[in-house]
């Protein structure tokens, strides 16, 4: 499903003797934008296109890409998850809290859980936040925007309450207490690649397989495309809804652990407004906010476009205020292009002007087998 659009576009272009170059440009826009960004900044700064800088930028991208993978799941369903930024903060705080050691004077107990236990606990909390979101949306019918806006505040407040507004410093742990190793996520490299980037690759790969090859992925695309039709086809649409918010919460907490690890400190305000960057990455990747359209490849491209653009602006010394202006403009242009793409593609039930386009497209689809992964 996720890949049908691109080959179809190329094929259509070939059939019509290259007349469809605009369509090709339109469909590959995120990729083209990324190339343009890399080339432009490489000219502007000699430090941009170096292995080291690319890896550094990629580890920045990884945080947003991981968040965006979860966000894509929610957006495919036609929902939105505004709480992921707060969950980044809370999960870091949970890990930091546990790494400081748990002290219960009443029972005379003080213990220091191992680093991996802290990480699992942090991810479990993220999953729980997601479950709350999913339950609010699917069982109680709260609009996703409102439900997750509520948890955005509640979760951020919880993080601040746990630390009393302070930051947990020095999460490296101590060998004597047996809780070292937390900084592995943020500092280590495997085969020269930062651990965060590896996490991004693994999470994206799993998500891509789930979306394209698993029944759950099909349920998700169907219920996002038309929930009523999916429900009447026997798809457990409510269960799908709960699960995607849980996935989004898990992704956010993994990102939160990586952020805390990179800083070796847990700041309760970490991840502030990350949700907006994640949404932007999903949208730049071509997903429709109305649901049913989008794929992992696009989301990764979107995350790289945003990450490489903002880091590039920093490297060439553009002021922070201009950075905001640029980022905002990119997001608006991306959504505009999405609209154009869907308008040419969408086959409105019974709309005359669209029908000419439609038949051309169906020719393009002709040789594409239905179940492309």
């Amino acid at each position: 499903m996720s890949t049908t659009s691109a080959p179809a576009g190329t094929k259509a272009a070939r059939f019509s003797g290259g007349l469809d170059i605009p369509r090709l440009l339109l469909e590959g826009r995120a990729f083209i934008a990324l190339i343009v960004i890399i080339v432009a900044f490489s000219f502007l700064s000699p430090n941009y296109f170096t292995v080291n800088n690319l890896l550094t930028m990629s580890s920045h991208v990884a945080i947003f890409a991981i968040l965006a993978v979860g966000m894509l799941m929610v957006i495919l369903n036609g929902g939105i998850d505004l709480s992921v930024g707060s969950t980044v903060g809370l999960s870091g705080v949970i890990a930091g809290f546990l790494l400081q050691g748990v002290n219960i004077p009443a029972l005379g107990i003080a213990f220091y859980p191992a680093a991996w236990v802290c990480v699992v606990a942090a991810v479990a909390v993220g999953a729980f936040v997601g479950w709350i979101n999913g339950t609010l949306v699917s069982r109680f019918g709260v609009a996703p925007f409102v439900a997750t806006l509520g948890t955005l505040y509640v979760v951020r407040g919880a993080a601040l309450l746990i630390t009393g507004g302070l930051t947990y410093p020095n999460l490296r742990g101590e060998a004597t207490l047996g809780n070292t190793g937390f900084d592995w996520f943020g500092f280590n490299r495997v085969l020269g690649i930062p651990v965060g980037v590896l996490f991004m690759i693994v999470i994206a790969a799993i998500a891509a397989v789930v979306l394209s090859r698993s029944p759950f992925g099909r349920w998700l695309y169907a219920s996002g495309g038309n929930e009523r039709a999916a429900e009447l086809s026997g798809i457990p649409v409510k269960q799908v809804k709960v699960r995607i918010y849980v996935i989004s919460g898990i992704c956010a907490s993994i990102a939160g652990v990586i952020v805390a690890s990179e800083l070796t400190s847990a700041n309760p305000t970490a991840g502030n407004s990350f949700e907006l960057t994640a949404i932007a990455a999903v949208v730049i990747g071509g997903a429709a906010l109305s649901g049913g359209r989008g794929n992992i490849r696009g989301v990764l491209l979107g995350a790289f476009v945003i990450g490489f653009l903002s880091d590039g602006l920093v490297i060439v010394g553009v002021s922070e205020y201009w950075q905001m202006v640029f980022k905002g403009a990119v997001i608006v242009v991306a959504v505009m292009l999405n609209r154009i793409e869907y308008r040419t593609k969408r086959i409105k039930p019974g709309n005359t002007p669209g029908s000419g386009q439609t038949s051309k497209l169906s020719n393009g689809f002709e040789n594409t087998p239905a179940p492309t992964a």
Binding site: A229, L232, G292, I347, S355, S362, F365
Partner: protein, 518 residues
């Protein structure tokens, strides 16, 4: 003014010339010449999908014709939208109410053309006064400040009528204006219509209640499959003439399959379903139907008869308010839609765009949507198994498509409908319910769909379909059950029944209306 218009009575004030309209793969109008006559009521008759509403949408500026043109008082006109049409004196009362439930009656009536006072704000007092006058005229006690949502459906329809009247239109199109009105309200409406025509207003009147329409219309135009097939002065023709022209020559919609009926497959026992818009009322008030394997049952009824609600309750989409649904000796109470499908009961929904198809998915993926479980190998979907299932589905229901990867919207209405049917058949059902399977598809596709139903019954399925076109009661069905106002009003053996009997039982003619205490 009035003298001027009386001299011009019968003058064709608005003409549609060779108007065609295409929706995707469907030709809704095939070159129609239609005239609105000054100071007269022109009745437009036709079955669902004949193109009546499409023609009215073109006349009132909601849609523009694919080809053809409009002439107003002899001058060519084009309406970009309803506001332009309204400014030229054309107003429409919609079949589906176009009101905002969150606003008051007054705000609804003046929506988009508020009376502005001296201060630049809305002059609510002046508006309320006009509304009160309108309500007096319609003999309805509705306070201008009432929230629309607090009115019952019939009163909402009155508001819709009042809004059209308030524009002081010279041409008034009424698309099913009486579907929710009581008999007394209809009488008042007719008085208003006569008053309007006496003042030179031209009316186009559409209704499924044929006798009622015959009473008010001066001129009758019959539309069938997007073409005007007959027209005459109402006083010169009979109800039979209209019905005969509406349904046309009897298309061969198939014959019932020659199979012995088996055990009772579906048993609906005293089913009650709450009205979704008003949970205190029932839209299905105790319906009992038994269907055997190999049997085809047709449920006939007008809009709002409760057919859809009952079928949706059987499929598990809406809860039952009473009674039970039994499929092959198992009470379905408490089962989810997925469990019902697994047990062998499926529903092909009425509105395929809203409930049947996922527009963002290909033909193949729509076809396999309800049976994803059958092509899972381990954790993953098996592309080869899915391709096989999709190929079989396309062959079984004979979908004409460029391939399984084609966009679902590239298909004609009939083929889209076949995809929805194929999707549900892929689940290997024992009982299949189809809600208006012929809605919005052309006659050729209709025949194919009904032949398919016949084949399914031969294979031992129990088939139930609903329709609002009397012609479709005959053909493949063994039995015709007529529903009216949430109840079964009659049950016929399809082989020995006439269209007139069926229509009478549904409340389309006066005899049935009095029977039901209309």
């Amino acid at each position: 003014m009035s003298t001027e218009s009386t001299t011009a009575i019968g003058y064709p004030i608005l003409k549609a010339k060779e108007v065609t309209k295409r929706y995707g793969g469907t030709q809704a109008l095939k070159g129609v010449d239609f005239e609105v006559l000054e100071g007269r009521v022109v009745g437009l008759f036709g079955e669902n999908g004949a193109g009546k509403s499409t023609l009215m949408k073109i006349l009132s500026g909601i849609e523009s014709p694919t080809t053809g043109r409009l002439e107003l008082r002899g001058e060519p006109v084009e309406f970009a939208n309803t506001v332009e049409a309204r400014d030229k004196g054309i107003s429409i009362i919609h079949q589906e109410l176009s009101l905002c439930a969150n606003l008051t009656v007054r705000d609804n009536i003046f929506m988009g053309r508020e009376i502005v006072g001296k201060t630049g704000g809305v002059d609510y007092k002046a508006e309320s006064k006009v509304v009160e006058q309108l309500m007096d005229r319609l003999q309805e006690k509705i306070d201008p400040d009432t929230l629309l949502a607090d009115l019952r459906l019939g009163q909402q329809q009155i508001v819709e009528i009042a809004r059209a009247l308030s524009t002081e239109a010279r041409i008034l199109i009424m698309d099913e204006p009486t579907s929710a009105l009581s008999a007394a309200e209809v009488d008042v409406l007719f008085k208003v219509i006569r008053d309007l025509t006496a003042h030179g207003v031209s009316i186009v009147y559409i209704s499924h209640h044929l006798e009622e329409a015959m009473e008010i219309c001066d001129h009758a135009v019959v539309l069938r499959d997007g073409e005007i097939v007959a027209q005459a002065e109402t006083k010169d023709v009979s109800l039979d003439w209209i019905v005969g022209n509406m349904v046309g020559r009897n298309f061969d919609l198939g014959t019932p399959p020659a199979v012995e009926f088996g055990d009772v497959a579906l048993e609906i026992d005293g089913a009650k379903v709450a009205d979704p818009s008003n949970p205190e009322r029932l839209s299905v008030k105790g319906v009992s139907i038994r269907v055997r394997t190999g049997e085809i049952v047709c449920i006939y009824g007008l809009m709002g008869a409760g057919r859809t609600e009952m079928l949706e309750a059987a499929a598990g989409r809406v809860p039952l308010a009473g009674g039970r649904i039994v499929v092959h000796d198992r009470d379905l109470a408490g089962m989810t839609i997925a469990q019902r499908i697994k047990w062998g009961l499926t529903l092909v929904p009425e509105d395929r765009q809203r409930d049947g198809l996922v527009q963002t998915m290909s033909v193949g993926r729509n076809l396999s949507l309800a049976s994803i479980g059958t092509f899972v190998k381990g954790l993953f979907l098996s592309p080869s198994a899915e391709a096989k299932l999709v190929q079989k589905g396309i062959g079984d229901v004979r979908v004409k498509t460029a391939g399984p990867g084609a966009a679902i919207g590239s298909l004609s209405g009939g083929n889209q409908q076949k995809v929805v049917i194929g999707k549900m058949l892929a689940t290997n059902p024992k009982v299949i319910l189809l809600d208006e399977p012929s809605r919005g598809i052309d006659i050729g596709a209709k025949t194919e769909v009904f032949n398919l139903l016949s084949e399914l019954a031969e294979q031992g399925l129990a088939v139930v379909y609903s329709t609002s076109e009397v012609n479709e009661c005959f053909g493949v069905a063994n039995r015709v059950i007529v529903m009216s106002k949430g109840r079964i009003s009659a049950e016929f053996d399809a082989a020995t029944t006439t269209k007139e009997q069926v229509m009478a039982a549904s409340g389309e003619s006066a005899t049935a209306s009095t029977m039901n205490g209309h």
